[in-house]
């Protein structure tokens, strides 16, 4: 009997084996692409971070263990660029969220041209970051910038201000450019979330005597919380890894005022041609981001809203 069962099962097992093989084979191209473009670079970066990899010394790549990590962690520039990044993120992320929310609330109203505005508002986000950077560098130029011209013609300033030549105004300029570039995306996310909030909740709030601010605080904001969390995490990641605006607008200056951590990693690789330091820095940045995101997720754990 048992033998019969085994004999009967054999064709089924063969078929199941063929199916498994077929499944693996069909997955293989995708797996190879993922391995080629993600796993290999990642593994190679780990290798780089554990070796002395200075491009100008191409024949000397000894294994150095965690030396690159230790050197990077002990560097003054890690401290300075981390501080600059924290200041930048602390200013830019809330500003992007506030801008996005304000625009979303505005576009959620029906008025003439609102449909057109919903499309136009995305333009700064769709523009390549390098172009945005060039535009803002020109706007903030100390000698012939549009901002100085505008403020001067309005009588607000009597002497042109070299916005990108002093640390405080250069940092502020970078934040403004970041808000201009990232704000529209946040606005579109939040607008989409606003449009899913049931109207009945506002009607109920009105019946209970809740007006504009009260409805915003007790209905809109709680209902937006999951989307706000996503936007907050996304914008924090974007702020921490911001590189292109720095590259085009300030080159990390004046001094090291706008040398964000991603700029520091870039200079280690391309200016100091030290791939080992650059790879170690990249892993440290990624690790720090994971910690920040975990903190966010824990702090903003949302109640069951939907």
């Amino acid at each position: 009997m048992a033998g019969q069962v085994r004999r009967r099962a054999a064709p089924g097992q063969a078929s199941s084996h063929r199916e498994r093989t077929y499944a693996y084979l069909t997955l293989l191209p995708a797996l190879l692409i993922v391995a080629g473009f993600t796993v290999y670079p990642l593994v190679y970066s780990v290798y780089l971070s554990l070796h002395r990899e200075i491009l100008t010394d191409p024949l000397n790549h000894p294994f150095t263990g965690l030396t690159n990590y230790a050197q990077v962690l002990g560097s003054y520039y890690l401290v300075s660029s981390t501080l600059s990044t924290i200041i930048f993120a602390a200013l830019a992320v809330p500003a992007v969220l506030a801008f996005g929310l304000a625009v979303a609330l505005l576009l959620n109203q029906s008025f003439a041209g609102s449909a057109f505005l919903r499309v136009v508002i995305l333009l700064p986000w769709a523009m390549p970051a390098v172009i945005s950077g060039i535009v803002w560098r020109w706007i903030f130029n100390g000698d012939y910038g549009v901002l100085n011209n505008l403020l001067s013609s309005l009588g607000i300033i009597h002497q042109y201000i070299p916005w990108l030549s002093t640390p405080a105004t250069a940092r502020a300029g970078l934040v403004v450019a970041q808000v201009w570039r990232e704000g529209p995306l946040a606005a579109i996310f939040l607008l989409a979330a606003l449009q899913t909030i049931p109207r009945e909740l506002y009607s109920a709030a009105k019946v209970d005597g809740g007006g504009g601010w009260s409805a915003f605080r007790h209905v809109t904001l709680p209902m937006l919380r999951p989307t706000l969390s996503i936007v907050l995490i996304y914008e924090t990641i974007v702020a921490v890894v911001t590189f292109d605006l720095v590259y085009v607008m300030t080159g990390g200056g004046p001094g090291d005022a706008t040398s964000l951590i991603s700029w520091y990693a870039y200079t280690e690789v391309f200016k100091f041609v030290n791939l080992g330091h650059g790879a170690a820095l990249a892993f440290l940045i990624a690790a720090a981001l994971v910690v920040v995101i975990l903190i966010y997720l824990r702090a903003l754990r949302s109640e069951e809203l939907y």
């Binding site: 491009l55 100008t56 010394d57 000698d143 070299p162 200056g253 004046p254 001094g255 391309f270 041609v273």
Partner: protein, 459 residues
């Protein structure tokens, strides 16, 4: 005969270029890997057969139309050689080239600079020209000393000058006249006094503008020129040990002068810290500033009546300071290690290219050398080119050839040209800006620069 065979035969016969071969191969459904292998095999065949040669030539983005026209003329004279030309921004040129070299992107000939020679040669990315192009040795005697220094690594010459210029002190003579000043300043203190007078008379709010943008490689050359102009204006001793960090050094005095001009006397435009070459030139052209330090060829632009209504007012003077020294630099044509590995035909074609673009036969300079000098006012590395009447006349239209020549004789190559100079340069630009802004003291900035130098030297 298969389609691939037909295509390979066409490539070997020179009827299609390498680029066309790849596009037609892809159209036939062949992978780039297969095409790459075929191209490599064909390249070896071509080397044996003395067939057509493709050269890839990379430059920074200046005078692109002139370069293209020079290439067209060269190709017409050398029908077996095709030159693929690519250009990249000067501001990102170092990083772009490092990426190309590391990624083994085909590059045969390229512009390089004394900034980067040691780094690129030490990595094997550039080849010593004198080992492969015998004519280079004979050129040496006719170069200004700073030109030879800037193109030499481990005793061998790696380049033929594309242009060789000096940093020069330029001023608006009309401003000086209106301020009642009899002539340009001879010292930095005198410059301060003159600028204060000009400022107080409302002629220029910020009489001085300097090229100090952190992302412009020229910024370290301006600063170094200011150091060279002072007594004991050296950054390193003969063993490459820093001397700039000693108290009271020329470097310290220079930083103090800049910082004071920026924050105390306010004669230096704060926008200098974000000003690259073009904004400085535009600032001078607009009449907003009186004094600057620029590459000498910019005087041609400033005094060009076609683009500037203040043309004719911009004069050159020796660098203020006791020695009047300045930085002389050389940007040059270099050959890559990749070129040499391609074999005799490619090297031979490159030799003709270098000769056409930067060489000299007997007393006859190549047409390209003279063209850059006459049409663009670019400085040159050859002493004897000053004997050319056409060149002298061209320079005298916008400047003073005697003054230009004197500046070249006073010029020195930058101190500390080593394989780690580019890294130290980038690091130092940040420290210098922090000192100018008063974020750190002069001595702390110089100490950080010296520490970085020692760290790089040990590594």
């Amino acid at each position: 005969m298969s389609d691939l065979d037909v295509l390979v035969n066409a490539l070997n016969a020179g009827r299609v270029s390498r680029r066309e071969f790849v596009s037609r191969g892809i159209a036939l459904g062949l992978s780039t890997t297969v095409l790459g292998s075929v191209l490599a095999a064909c390249a070896q065949t071509a080397q044996k057969s003395g067939g057509p040669v493709d050269l890839t030539f990379v430059t920074w983005s200046y005078g692109i139309d002139t370069i293209k026209s020079n290439i067209a003329k060269f190709e017409a004279q050398n029908p077996n050689t095709t030159v693929a030309f690519q250009d990249f921004s000067w501001l990102n040129y170092h990083d772009t080239m490092v990426t190309r070299f590391v990624g083994k992107t085909p590059t045969d000939l390229a512009y390089s600079s004394d900034h980067w020679l040691q780094e690129w040669a030490a990595a094997g990315w550039l080849a010593p020209l004198e080992d492969h192009f015998s004519q280079v040795r004979s050129y040496r005697a006719d170069y200004f000393p700073y030109v030879t220094s800037g193109m030499t690594y481990n005793g061998k010459v790696y380049g033929i000058p594309y242009y060789a210029d000096t940093w020069a002190f330029l001023y608006n003579a009309d401003h000086l006249q209106r301020a009642g000043l009899s002539g340009p300043p001879a010292t930095w203190d005198e410059l301060t006094e003159q600028a204060k007078t000009i400022k107080s008379k409302g002629i220029a709010n910020y009489p001085v503008i300097l090229l100090f943008a952190q992302d412009d490689p020229g910024s370290i050359e301006v600063w170094t020129s200011m150091v060279f102009s002072r007594t004991d204006g050296h950054l390193f001793d003969s063993s490459f040990h820093p001397v700039f960090n000693q108290p009271g050094s020329a470097a310290a005095k220079t930083i103090d002068w800049i910082s004071g001009s920026l924050r105390d006397t306010k004669i230096l435009d704060p926008a200098s810290l974000q000003s690259q070459e073009i904004p400085v030139v535009k600032g001078m052209e607009s009449g907003a500033h009186t004094f600057t330090i620029l590459e000498t060829y910019n005087q041609a632009e400033l005094n060009n009546p076609g683009v500037n209504k203040l043309a004719g007012n911009f004069k050159m003077a020796p660098m203020p300071g006791e020695t009047q020294g300045t930085v002389g630099y050389v940007r040059f044509y270099a050959a890559t290690g990749q070129l040499i590995n391609r074999g005799a035909d490619a090297v031979g074609a490159a030799g003709k290219f270098l000769e056409y673009f930067g060489g000299k036969t007997g007393d006859q300079f190549s047409p390209v050398v003279k063209r850059w000098a006459v049409e663009n006012g670019l400085g040159f590395g050859w002493k004897s080119l000053w004997n050319d009447a056409e060149v002298k006349t061209a320079f005298n239209k916008w400047g003073d050839s005697a003054m230009l020549q004197k500046n070249q004789e006073l010029a020195r190559a930058k101190d500390g040209l080593t394989k780690f100079y580019p890294s130290w340069d980038v690091f130092s630009r940040t420290e210098l800006q922090k000192a100018y802004l008063g974020q750190v003291s002069t001595q702390d900035a110089l100490k950080a620069m010296a520490d970085k130098w020692n760290e790089l030297q040990k590594a």
